[in-house]
């Protein structure tokens, strides 16, 4: 355990202690704890930056499951540090913002912050862990906390729907990721990321390489909401706005980008990696920006915009992998795409964070996020307007904001493949700048529309009536800080370019520092008259008319067929799988324990039978057995006959006495088999057992209509016979197979010498295996207490507890059945009586018995079963307990 471990785990510790802390300081908002911890972590991580800046890294290892080769190794290099600072820095601002935003009951607030802290810890662990398996664990933990936070308002159906959707999609990707990691392990023999980097070259030629790439990218694409897995992100907007700003724009969705960047040294330089990553990013970029324009919900616009921006970064990461294919100057040229990716990642977190927070403020103040109902807020909310203007300008990629610089770098980067002669780029390279330009136009359009439709234009009458004003300072401060930061990043990019971006880019493209070069650290606002600047001017020129005529051409969106959408596909497949699952499950889970016993026995027979007939050293011994005295034949035959007669017994007492006979014959068997203690015990136990049986069943009144004999059923019979045969075979096999010396020789030898007893069985019981005996009498004691409870304490239970509980259960059952019925047209697994199905007469009888209510059922309120229990069993019990 090191300081780094402590830092990474501290959010979990605080999450565990938060409920107690909250109780200790009930008037202090829980958010302050989270904000304070984030600030401390941010400061502590900044302390590492000087280390990392020079290109070195910090590694702290801690053996976790050494036998499986899983260590909890934390690794802090430029890339991890950039993400860790992003997580903690945004964490501070979001926590402060949420203090003003979240004003629920304190209990659910604690839940909120506990989840937020767990998420922060998971995210920190994710970006700092060097082991693929621990990374996967943290990866899934972020999915789970995201699920819980999206479903924070769990009483709303949309929240639950969105939460489930995000969970299913990201977990599917997570499974792919795990499989991919395992494939990587198969190929390289290690889970350590740095060892994998060293093995990079040998992996490429492995046949499992492409599957591994695909599976890992599945994980990254689902997490980072890349097309066509993006559909969960818009629905995730049901989460409280601080969560959207934190998880679903700044941090969690960037985990996929982190993974791609982190594994770039392993995979980069191959055509598959380049095409999947860059093309996936490109498609997402254009799709997200086009779809964002038609959204009417403020957070919906931001969600699609996030998808689009994530695609942009993904595409840049793909382009940066080209640099591995080249050397020297050219390599650096393509590596600039990587720098751009990381810089844009930072910019995006800043401007998108501020925009999300503004969306939350607008929602908070006006009560709606629908841009059709908003407008003209600039006059009443000047501060929010200014902030959102800064954010939107940065998002649109206009100077002098940070977004402009990274957008310029992006446009430059997409022009580069035109010159690259690898991976068949000669044919397809033109795709990149064209798509990027169109997407940029749409980005400009939605950024503009976001501000225009919310803050400009006429105010809607509904808003006039409310007294809308700027948010309180605590709520305005975080987005304002971010907006200023967006400006600073544009004016003074050098503040971060050397200390954060360059170390991160070098960690991502480790071949460059390895060849003794360094990336150019400088990022400038003014690049000169480059083609990229020309493209930006073109974007503005095309964008402004589009914004002005937006109302007219937006109708085109209505033409997109809704039936074909991916969401429809998701809903349909979910329904399909649920239906299939219900059907299949109800085939074997029919609610009858008898069936389950048959399954268990079936598997037992399969496994034991397989071993019996396939194991080589199992022999069935014949001969050299103990001799049987003539009278012993009688006993054994009697034993078999008595037991066989039990199922045929017509009445209960006969069955009980037959079983008792078996027991007494067992006593005799024990006598012959030289076990006097057993014989004695068996005899007494049998006497008491038979008494018990008779007490319980003989004195019950005649059971009403039930047939007393056992009806013959062939399947049961076959199962029973098969088990019997198998057990006989096992017994014979055990006799013939004796690979070990028995331990009992020791007991025989030592019984008198070291335990001072001559009855070896008793010595074993009380001395050698005394512990077993002690636990055994405890089991007996528990059984007797259980019996006592069932009989003596039942009145209380029926009066207070059980009625209430049974109702809840019943209501839930009914509700579940109705839900199932409405969803699938099938109300789930129904228990079905074998008898009713087999025997119509009996089914009729059952019906008759069930339908009429017994008279007097309503009479005894205090003892619900009073009128229903047969007379002579309730009379005593009821009177005594009353």
């Amino acid at each position: 355990m090191s300081l780094l471990h402590l830092l990474a785990l501290s959010p979990f510790l605080l999450a565990a202690g938060l409920p107690l802390l909250g109780r200790a300081a009930p008037r202090l908002h829980r958010g302050w704890f989270a904000a304070a911890l984030s600030a401390i972590l941010f400061a502590a991580l900044l302390g590492y930056s000087s280390n990392v800046r020079s290109g070195s890294s910090v590694t702290e290892s801690f053996a976790w499951i050494p036998s499986l080769g899983i260590s909890f190794t934390l690794y802090l290099d430029g890339l991890s540090l950039l993400f860790a600072l992003l997580i903690t820095g945004m964490g501070v601002l979001v926590a402060i913002y949420s203090i003003a935003y979240m004003n629920d009951a304190s209990e659910s607030l604690t839940r909120f912050y506990v989840l937020l802290l767990i998420f922060m810890g998971a995210m920190l662990g994710l970006v700092m862990s060097d082991n693929l398996l621990t990374l996967y664990g943290f990866w899934e933990l972020t999915s789970i906390t995201s699920f819980l936070l999206i479903g924070y308002n769990h009483h709303k159906h949309r929240s639950r729907y969105g939460a489930l959707k995000s969970l299913l999609i990201t977990m599917t990707g997570g499974l792919g990721l795990l499989t991919g990691f395992v494939l990587l392990y198969v190929m390289s023999g290690t889970y350590q990321i740095r060892e994998l980097m060293d093995a990079g070259g040998t992996l490429v030629s492995h046949p499992l390489f492409v599957p591994a790439v695909l599976l890992i990218l599945l994980g990254a694409f689902t997490k980072s909401a890349q097309y066509p897995f993006h559909i969960w992100l818009p629905d995730a907007m049901e989460a409280p706005t601080p969560v959207s700003a934190y998880l679903h724009s700044a941090t969690m969705v960037k985990a996929g980008l982190y993974l791609v960047a982190r594994l770039s040294p392993v995979f980069a330089g191959t055509a598959e990696w380049f095409w999947f990553v860059s093309l996936g990013g490109l498609i997402t970029l254009i799709y997200g920006s086009v779809a964002a324009v038609k959204q009417t919900d403020l957070k919906g616009i931001l969600a699609y915009s996030t998808i689009s921006q994530l695609g942009l970064i993904m595409c840049l990461l793909g382009l940066s992998s080209l640099s591995v294919a080249f050397a020297g100057e050219e390599s650096l040229l393509y590596a600039a795409a990587g720098t751009a990716a990381l810089f844009h990642l930072l910019n995006h977190a800043v401007f998108k964070g501020s925009l999300f927070m503004i969306a939350g403020i607008v929602d908070h103040e006006t009560g709606t996020r629908d841009v059709r109902k908003l407008g003209g807020l600039a006059q009443v909310m000047p501060i929010a307007f200014t902030i959102s203007l800064f954010g939107a300008l940065s998002m649109a990629g206009l100077p002098p904001f940070g977004g402009f610089i990274s957008k310029e770098m992006f446009l430059e980067a997409v022009l580069e493949p035109l010159h690259a002669g690898v991976f068949r780029l000669e044919t397809w390279a033109a795709l990149f700048p064209i798509v990027a330009w169109i997407a940029s136009v749409f980005t400009f359009v939605y950024s503009a529309l976001l501000v225009v439709r919310t803050f400009l234009g006429p105010r809607k009458p509904a808003l006039e009536r409310k007294k809308v004003h700027d948010a309180p300072p605590l709520m305005t401060l975080p987005p304002a800080l971010l907006a200023v930061l967006a400006l600073i990043l544009g004016l003074f990019p050098g503040l971060v370019s050397y200390s954060l971006i360059r170390p991160a880019a070098e960690a991502m493209m480790s071949h460059i520092p390895a060849s003794g070069e360094r990336l150019p650290g400088s990022i400038k606002l003014w690049h000169g008259w480059t083609p990229a600047l020309g493209m930006t001017i073109g974007v503005v020129a095309a964008g402004i008319p589009l914004v002005l005529t937006a109302r007219r051409w937006m109708k085109l969106y209505a033409w997109i067929p809704r039936r074909m959408s991916i969401n429809r596909f998701y809903d349909a497949s979910l329904l399909f799988f649920e239906r299939i699952t219900v059907r299949i499950t109800s085939l074997y889970m029919n609610g009858s324990s008898r069936s389950y016993i048959k399954y268990i026995l079936g598997f037992m027979m399969l496994v034991a039978g397989f071993i019996l007939f396939n194991a080589t050293d199992v022999t069935f011994r014949v001969g050299a057995y103990a001799v049987i005295a003539p009278y012993e034949w009688f006993i054994m035959l009697g034993l078999a006959a008595a037991s066989l007669a039990v199922p045929f017994a017509k009445s209960r007492p006969v069955a009980i006495i037959l079983t008792g006979t078996v027991g007494y014959l067992m006593t005799l068997m024990f006598v012959f088999l030289r076990a006097p203690d057993l014989a004695l015990t068996q005899m007494v136990v049998e006497s008491i057992s038979v008494t018990l049986y008779l007490l319980c069943f003989y004195h019950l009144p005649k059971l009403r209509t039930e047939s007393q004999a056992v009806r013959f059923r062939l399947p049961n019979f076959l199962v029973a016979v098969a088990v019997g045969v198998l057990m006989t075979l096992i017994a014979l096999a055990v006799l013939g197979t004796n690979p070990f010396d028995p331990v009992s020789d020791y007991y025989v030898r030592e019984s008198y010498e070291s335990a001072g007893g001559k009855n070896i069985v008793n010595v074993i019981l009380v001395d050698f295996r005394g512990f077993d005996t002690m636990l055994e009498i405890m089991v007996l004691g528990v059984a007797s207490l259980g019996i006592y409870n069932m009989i003596k304490l039942r009145r209380k239970a029926t009066d207070i507890g059980s009625r209430h509980v049974s109702h809840e259960g019943e209501d839930a059952d009914e509700e579940a059945a109705q839900t199932r019925k409405s969803l699938y047209g099938y109300d789930g697994p129904r228990w079905r009586s074998d008898d009713a199905a087999e025997d119509p007469e009996r089914a009729e009888k059952l019906k008759i018995q069930e339908s009429p209510e017994l008279p007097g059922a309503e009479s005894g309120d205090s003892s619900p079963d009073k009128s229903e229990t047969p007379p002579n069993s309730h009379a005593e019990g009821g009177d005594r307990d009353a």
Partner: protein, 122 residues
């Protein structure tokens, strides 16, 4: 003798399982008892039968039968007694409450029971 005992073990197992698969609670409990007997015999047979005198050191004998299975079975007999008693009382209470010892009908009875109480609550 071991072969015969093995066959008896099989018979006891078969009858026990068959009883457990019936719908009558009492017979299910009886089935578990028979199963216990079967296991006891199996344990005895495992250690070979009649290989010596009873495991009492006082007797003049060179060979004793294996005492360990006997100790195990003694424990098992007593535990089985407790478990059987528990089962019995469970089915006894089930009968008192639901007026049936038929497994197939218990469920419909119990839901009838609950719906009746539901009527009273309102």
């Amino acid at each position: 003798m071991e072969v015969i005992v093995a066959i008896i073990v099989g018979v006891l197992f078969a009858v026990g399982i068959y009883l457990i698969l019936t719908q009558d609670l009492l017979r299910i409990v009886l089935g578990t008892s028979l199963l216990t007997h079967a296991v006891h015999l199996l344990l005895m047979a495992m250690a070979m039968l009649k290989t010596g005198a009873a495991p009492l050191l006082g007797r003049e004998a060179d060979e004793f039968v294996d005492p360990l299975p006997q100790a195990l079975i003694l424990t098992s007999i007593v535990i089985n007694f407790g478990v059987t008693a528990f089962f019995l009382v469970l089915s006894y209470r089930a009968y008192q409450k639901l007026e049936t010892t038929d497994m197939d009908r218990m469920r419909s009875e119990s839901s009838r029971h609950r719906s009746r109480k539901g009527g009273r609550r309102s």
